[in-house]
């Protein structure tokens, strides 16, 4: 699959502090790609370089096949929701959006239509004429998001798109992003690991300025080969031994009296179905143990915690 964004050996120093160190990865075309990391990991710095706000100390970023230093060649094809960027207070949001759309190459009438369309997309059609200063934080966040939707960008960078939004609005934004799958490439930075796991098909994890992992979500969460099971009563030693004896099971890890993980030794989806049947048969049929829940893959949070050594600021989860 072609890459919408390619980051090669990217580094950024702020004086003596190295914010990014030799980061390289690619964002596949049409993917919803999550960029994860604890506070200070370098997510916003990476986004800022990719958007041309900051210059890289080393390495390069290519967006849609163009070096981001030639940003004008990408006009209208590439958009971003920057973190904490302010709109002009005292000016109706529609006028500011019209200006952005006109810079994207639209005539005044087209720009106005695009701005209204984008505002309606984020559920703010009724505040078009309102002054930016008169809007709540959540509304402003959605207006900022709306400017990223102007026109039809092929690639969007969304820096913390749901931070500060109430659950209903956050869900609305997630639905919006989900609806873009396959139509455009979206790169999302977020602290909300559940949101990233739910939305993204690929993710990269940054930690202290370094890329620690970059893979498809299936690979990151081992969803193809890991099964998490919770029983209604404790797992007996005999049942554990029988499970481990199954040919599709590579290992068993107890994570609690009634919880355990099975690492499967399989290669295809069909084999997985067979493996799950065998597991259920062993538990229910042989040992009369009923699984209360059976989940495929580890949570992204767990993987994240393994990589970052337990650093997870989930405060902005919504």
């Amino acid at each position: 699959m072609a890459a919408s964004m390619s980051i090669q050996g990217l580094g950024k120093d702020f004086g003596r502090f190295t914010a990014l160190q030799d980061v390289s990865f690619e964002v596949p075309e049409g993917a919803i790609f999550g960029l994860l990391g604890p506070n200070g990991a370098g997510k916003t710095t990476l986004f800022s370089i990719a958007a041309g706000f900051l210059s890289a100390s080393r390495g390069r970023v290519e967006v849609l096949g163009t070096d981001v230093r030639e940003i004008s060649a990408l006009r209208g094809r590439y958009s971003m929701l920057p973190q904490d960027a302010a709109f002009q207070g005292g000016i109706p949001v529609i006028e500011q959006l019209v200006m952005f759309a006109r810079l994207n190459g639209f005539s005044y009438d087209e720009a106005e239509a695009k701005a209204i369309e984008a505002l309606e997309l984020v559920g703010l059609g009724d505040v078009a004429r309102r002054n930016a200063r008169a809007l709540s934080h959540g509304m402003m966040k959605r207006v900022a998001l709306c400017q990223a939707f102007l026109g039809s960008p092929e690639l969007m960078l969304l820096d913390e798109p749901t931070a500060g939004l109430d659950p209903e609005n956050a869900r609305g934004i997630r639905e919006l992003v989900r609806g873009m799958r396959g139509q455009r490439t979206v790169v999302i930075s977020s602290h909300n690991l559940r949101e990233i796991q739910e939305l993204c098909d690929h993710a990269a994890i940054l930690h202290e300025g370094k890329l620690e992992a970059c893979a498809s979500m299936d690979e990151l969460t081992s969803s193809g080969t890991l099964v998490r099971i919770t029983l209604g009563e404790p797992l007996t030693d005999a049942a554990a031994a029988d499970l481990q004896a199954l040919p599709q099971v590579a290992s068993l890890e107890r994570t609690g009296p009634m919880d355990f993980n099975l690492q499967l030794d399989i290669e295809s989806g069909d084999q997985k179905d067979e493996a799950l049947k065998s597991i259920n048969k062993c538990l229910i049929g042989t040992h009369d143990l009923v699984p209360r829940s059976l989940n495929e893959g580890a949570s992204l949070e767990r993987r994240f915690l393994e990589i970052t050594g337990g650093l997870y600021d989930g405060s902005s989860s919504s």
Binding site: F53, S72, R75, M80, P82, A85, L103
Partner: protein
């Protein structure tokens, strides 16, 4: 440094910058300041002249006789020497301004030339600094080249300055023309155009100097402080480095546009054109330095 220049974008950024500034109050403040300072200066000189006209009228003099009385005062050695001392200009230049040009307007333009760097600085200090600080520029950065944003903001500020200046000129000329009725229409217009060009050309380098300063900071306040220093410091320094007593240090003044200001009103067309060219040179220099920094800095 100037790759990706897009005239439509420069005009768009400039016109929106001007409109938004007007509506958010910053622009209105700048216009108010230009008008206020300009009209205060005009008032300072017009009031005594009005007094002279009233006195001449009480003495039974006609309008024409009153005008002659005022011309005699303006052309007196005392006034010529005073203007010569203040401006450091030679005798011929001062006589041109006071005797060949409408003296009242010349004195107003000279005083405005003293103040205008300061006034221009207040109207130009926030071309980019505030929006760098609040990151508002980031919405523009993906849509156009940095050079277009920088030049657009400069252009918007220039629109403002020019509009304020035109308004000020119209008010001063109308007042002097209609109320005092001292000078012919041709003399008023001639002096008005010369004064307008002098003030406009003096504003240009200060607009781009402030644009450069503005691009150096993330804070509008820091930019304001430095711009006021650059615009206002020469006014203070002029008392310390007075060309009449420290002629050998006159070259110091020439390092800034400030040092060339009176040549902008010169009676010698060659000198005046040279002064215009120097102002344009400073304008271009500051513009390029500012744009170079803006294009390279982290935003």
């Amino acid at each position: 440094m100037v790759s990706g220049l897009h005239l439509r974008h420069i005009r768009l950024v400039g016109s929106y910058w001007m409109r938004f500034s007007l509506r958010t109050g910053g622009g209105l403040m700048a216009i108010f300041l230009v008008l206020f300072s300009g009209l205060m200066v005009a008032h300072l000189f017009i009031t005594p002249v009005e007094g002279l006209i009233d006195r001449a009228s009480m003495d039974g003099h006609t309008q024409g006789e009153a005008a002659d009385d005022i011309a005699r005062v303006a052309e007196s050695e005392a006034i010529v020497n005073a203007v010569k001392w203040i401006t450091g200009q030679d005798q011929a230049e001062v006589e041109y301004l006071l005797r060949e040009q409408p003296a009242l307007l010349s004195v107003i333009w000279l005083m405005l030339l003293l103040l205008f760097p300061f006034v221009t600085s207040i109207g130009s200090f926030n071309q980019t600094a505030g929006d760098i600080g609040n990151r508002g520029l980031r919405y523009l950065l993906l849509r156009t080249e940095r050079s277009n944003i920088y030049l657009g903001r400069t252009l918007g500020t220039l629109y403002f300055s020019t509009a304020s200046l035109i308004l000020l000129m119209i008010l001063v000329l109308l007042y002097v023309g209609l109320k005092l009725n001292l000078y012919s229409f041709g003399a008023l217009m001639g002096s008005g155009v010369q004064g307008f060009l002098a003030l406009l050309f003096l504003s240009l380098p200060y607009i781009t100097l402030c644009g450069w300063v503005s691009s150096l900071f993330d804070s509008a306040f820091a930019s304001l402080a430095i711009c006021l220093g650059l615009g206002g410091a020469p006014i203070i320094a002029i008392s310390a480095i007075d060309a009449n007593t420290h002629a050998d240090l006159e070259w110091l003044e020439r390092l800034l546009p400030w040092g060339w200001k009176y040549e902008l009103l010169s009676g010698d067309i060659g000198t005046r054109l040279t002064a215009y060219a120097v102002m344009l040179g400073f304008t271009l220099l500051f513009l390029l330095l500012g744009m170079r920094h803006f294009n390279r800095r982290d935003l």
